[in-house]
Amino acid sequence: MTWFWGAILFWLAAWALNARLAAGPAARHPAVRLAIPALFGVTLLVLWEGIVRGLQVSPVILPAPTEIGATIAASLPILWGDFVQTIVKGALSGYVIGCSAAVATAIAIDRSPFLQRGLLPVGNFIAALPIVGTAPILVMWFGFDWQSKAAVVVVMVFFPVLVNTVAGLAASERMQRDLMATWSASYWQTLWKLRLPAAMPFIFNGLKIATTLALIGAIVAEFFGSPTRGMGFRISTAVGQLALPLVWAEIAVAALAGSAFYGLVATIERGVTFWHPSQRGRS
């Protein structure tokens, strides 16, 4: 029970410290703003560890963080192989294909208001559907390897990016387009120099939504059949063997990969749309 009460004590102490930090004058300092959520995260881990050890929770139900950490360290080659199979081959290739296809389609239908009026509601509708359900069909068509996972990802990311890009291409103002017209700019010049840059905040919004969808698609598609590697495969088989530390290790990798992927896209966004009000004022 020492573990349990120790963890509770740590939690109360950390919470008191956080409350003081948040209320105190130092709360505006960037280091403190980082320290508070970090402390909260550490508290959660300590609480988790303390409860698992103190109440002797079976590792089949919930393994302790230290055990998960040990598993991560011990099975790095497996985790790396799964990471390459699912994230690099499945999710990333599908993400690139799907997003470029969506942007290209948006530019293609941009010239026809008729198509836009028709495709936008349909696209919005499809974006709300449970598209992961197409995974068994695509696995049947493209085989068990990463190609089928990439196909699922393509279908999942296509519509959110399409809808956002179409909205973005409409974002430049009448006045700005008229100005381009007075310079007798061609359609492509207007597109390239005015409308695409103006659309970038919208496009990146879609791209950021798509990062999570891509990972979800790649992992869930593996539940429907995969070669003997990949994160979804490992999760579903390890759960079957009740090897929960390995499952948690895969989830930790998935979480890290998801945040890193999102962070990468957000960093590129900051570089591309440096002029946008939401990005200015941040150094």
């Binding site: 959520p37 028709g118 709300a128 359900g133 068994p136 992992i219 869930v220 579903s236 499952v247 962070g263």
Partner: protein, 297 residues
């Protein structure tokens, strides 16, 4: 009219492309069968065959529609285990499986939205909570949370919880974070001038909450509820994959095991119809509530 014509055109185009793809993707099988039988098929015969195969690579739209009809109305009214003959929903019909998925989705969504709402209220009123929890709530949006679904199902089953609860837990988890993030934004949306006005009336924190913050947050709440309910449905479907105890996810997986493509597509369309109904219901509630509050555009 002005809006309907383009939409119908696009839908018609999609159906047309689907038919062409059906012919293209199923032609190989038709040709193989013909070659084995030693006959030569004309183009018309190939087209006729591809649109009526038993286990097509891609079933034609009318085959999917027929399967949907067969697995709902026909199964329930004339099937041996249908509701007319046995008094309970047939376990072969999509009405039964759709209902299983829908009930898990609804329960999970209610739990997730309720908890998300409470956490958002806490975050807005407690600065320490805001600074420590909010970054994690935002970061959690970038994580493929759905990956934990099989584990939740199996772990809860090992402690004796099966049926609707584990699926609802996944649905709740998925709808939780969008609601938290949206609600915090919404509860913070009143302007300083409005908050100051209430302070000049010496309104208490509870009064500010009920009379200003909560009404102001409703548009945000409904926007995130639409995201949340779609996510909850996906969660329930994925939650049905590891344990084959009925539901649309179980139908999808069973169909993919046995190569019953028409069954997969029928389950997929049922899921799509459910999603449309759920999002539509949230949208209708939103319009009704906002009109009642005089906030409709």
């Amino acid at each position: 009219m002005n809006r309907l014509v383009p939409i119908l055109t696009v839908v018609a185009a999609i159906v047309a492309i689907w038919y062409v793809a059906t012919v293209g993707m199923n032609a190989q099988w038709a040709r193989d069968q013909a070659a084995r039988a030693g006959v030569e098929l004309s183009f018309g015969e190939i087209v006729a065959d591809t649109l009526a195969q038993e286990r097509p690579v891609l079933p034609a739209p009318h085959q999917v529609a027929a399967e949907l009809w067969k697995l709902t109305w026909v199964e329930e009214t004339t099937g041996r285990r249908g509701i007319v003959k046995s008094g309970t929903l047939s376990n072969r019909s999509l009405v039964y499986h759709g209902w299983l998925t829908l009930s898990a989705t609804a329960l999970g969504f209610a739990i997730g939205t309720g908890l998300g709402f409470l956490l958002a209220v806490g975050i807005v009123h407690n600065r320490a909570m805001d600074l420590s929890v909010m970054p994690w709530a935002i970061a959690s949006q970038t994580i493929p949370i759905l990956a934990i679904a099989p584990m939740i199902i199996v772990v809860l089953a090992s402690v004796g919880l099966t049926g609707i609860v584990p699926k609802a837990v996944i649905s709740a988890y998925l709808s939780f974070f969008p609601v938290v993030v949206g609600m915090v934004k919404g509860l913070r949306s009143p302007e300083v001038a409005q908050l100051d006005l209430l302070r000049t009336y010496s309104a208490s924190a509870a009064q500010v909450f009920w009379k200003l913050r909560l009404p102001a947050s409703l548009p945000y709440l409904f926007a995130s509820m639409k995201v949340g309910i779609a996510a909850a449905l996906v969660g329930a479907i994925v939650g049905e994959l590891p344990v084959q105890q009925g539901g649309l996810g179980a139908r999808l997986l069973a169909g993919s095991y046995y190569g019953q493509t028409a069954q997969i597509w029928a389950a997929l369309f049922t899921a799509a119809i459910l999603a449309a109904l759920l999002v539509g219901a949230v949208g209708a509630t939103e319009r009704a509530v906002l009109r009642r509050l005089g906030m409709a555009q």
